[in-house]
């Protein structure tokens, strides 16, 4: 294994540059180093102006997402050594399809607005969420647990060409988050979310490229969530078409109700 690796890092200074340029740094390549270790090494020892986000360095916080050799990756979970054979060159860029604020830092305001737009909280119609305790069986938890693993790292947005081509598209993580609440036995807001997401900029914007699922470091499977959401939307439409009187009733019959309610 080579001792060093050449890191090509996209640099952008909003005060000086019109567009990003690449700067090369030769860094050591111990086998236990991830891309984030190399960035920290550069910032500490070589160039203190290099700007990037990071926090937990263990795949929990979702801060250090960036493009590594053209693929959306968490810098803390991407080993340098796995790229060492590739001509000893690793290209690091900010996450694709997001506005760049500086160097490797992207602007997340649009993403956060999209997340909030799907009402990612427990919605209750029968009573106040604070009126008592809601019990859940392990099976009911298993129904949505996978979708609750999202760390908002936005890798799925950078993997999705629809996000790039249609900036209004709500996007994989936000739809998976909506599904996380739809599938929660305590939630009664599936219909409200459907009204927001059964839309060309919502679930119907997805063309099932499937790369969001490949990019996800937490195995959330946003592509799966969206396709299942499409099925629910289609069934909902069919039901309202066949039985117009049913319009306005819940779409996830199995999720709505008071199963497990104790108070």
């Amino acid at each position: 294994m080579p001792d060093t690796v050449l890191l090509e890092i996209a640099r952008y200074s909003p005060e000086q540059d019109m567009e990003p340029t690449f700067e090369s740094y030769r860094v050591p390549c111990p086998k236990e180093w991830v891309v984030l270790d190399a960035l920290n090494h550069i910032k500490d020892k070589v160039d203190g102006t290099l700007t990037y986000r990071w926090s937990c360095r263990m795949g929990i916080c979702g801060s250090c997402g960036m493009m590594v050799n053209g693929e959306p990756k968490l810098a803390c979970a991407t080993f340098l050594s796995s790229y060492a054979k590739n001509g000893n060159k690793v290209r690091v860029e900010p996450l694709r399809y997001f506005p760049v604020m500086r160097d490797l830092v992207t602007e997340l305001g649009g993403f956060l607005d999209k997340l909030a737009s799907v009402k990612p909280w427990l919605i209750r119609h029968d009573d106040s969420p604070t009126s008592g305790e809601f019990l859940q069986t392990p099976e009911q938890l298993e129904n949505f647990r996978q979708y609750s693993m999202c760390i908002n790292c936005t890798l799925c947005y950078s993997a999705c060409p629809v996000v790039g081509l249609d900036p209004e598209f709500v996007g994989p993580a936000a739809i998976a988050l909506a599904q996380r609440y739809n599938k929660d036995s305590r939630d009664q807001g599936a219909e409200e979310r459907m009204a927001i997401l059964a839309h060309p900029e919502g679930i119907w914007g997805c063309t099932f490229v499937g790369e969001c699922t490949q990019a996800c470091p937490k195995h959330v499977d946003p592509a799966g969530a969206i396709q299942q959401y499409k099925l629910s939307a289609a069934l909902d439409w069919l039901k309202s078409f066949i039985m117009p009187r049913r319009r306005g009733e819940g779409i996830h019959d199995d999720n709505i109700g008071n199963q497990g309610r104790t108070a």
């Binding site: 997001f98 506005p99 305001g109 607005d113």
Partner: protein, 147 residues
């Protein structure tokens, strides 16, 4: 003044110049974004394959029309099928139809979660019935053709 450029999506342009607000770099998405990486090229090929599936259907419809038009019309159609152009169209269509079937079958585990006794059925078990059905139908067609 507030920083406002987020409501309209990731790429919305800042509506007005905002003092002290840094200039964001917004790269344009190339028309050729799908070239260069096999995963995206594969997606585009999968989408284009639907055109060839449609061509296959149209050829079959013309064949049926020939059949309804009597023996002479049918033989004329069969003669057309033997021309190099028709063989090329059929061959390309066939390859795309294969690609279409395989890529979509492989995506079925994402589109549906199957649970048996509370446990999630592994992905290949969800995709397998599709391939099995494909095999059975193909065998039935082969039997019809060669019996």
């Amino acid at each position: 003044m507030t920083i406002s450029a987020t409501k309209e999506g990731l790429h919305s342009s800042t509506p007005a110049y905002t003092e002290f607000h840094p200039r964001w770099y917004r790269p344009r998405v190339s028309v050729y974004w799908w070239l260069g990486q096999w995963r995206y090229l594969k997606f585009i090929l999968r989408e284009i394959s639907s055109v060839f599936v449609a061509i296959f259907v149209v050829v079959t419809l013309f064949q049926l029309r020939g059949l309804l038009g009597g023996p002479e019309a049918y033989y004329r159609f069969q003669a057309w099928l033997r021309t190099p152009g028709a063989i090329a169209i059929n061959l390309i269509s066939f390859l795309f139809v294969l690609f279409h079937a395989v890529t979509w079958f492989n995506l079925t585990p994402h589109a549906m979660t199957v649970r048996v006794g509370g446990n999630r059925v592994p992905d290949f078990m969800v995709a397998a019935p599709n391939y099995l059905a494909w095999l059975v139908v193909s065998a039935a067609v082969a039997w019809l053709v060669w019996r």
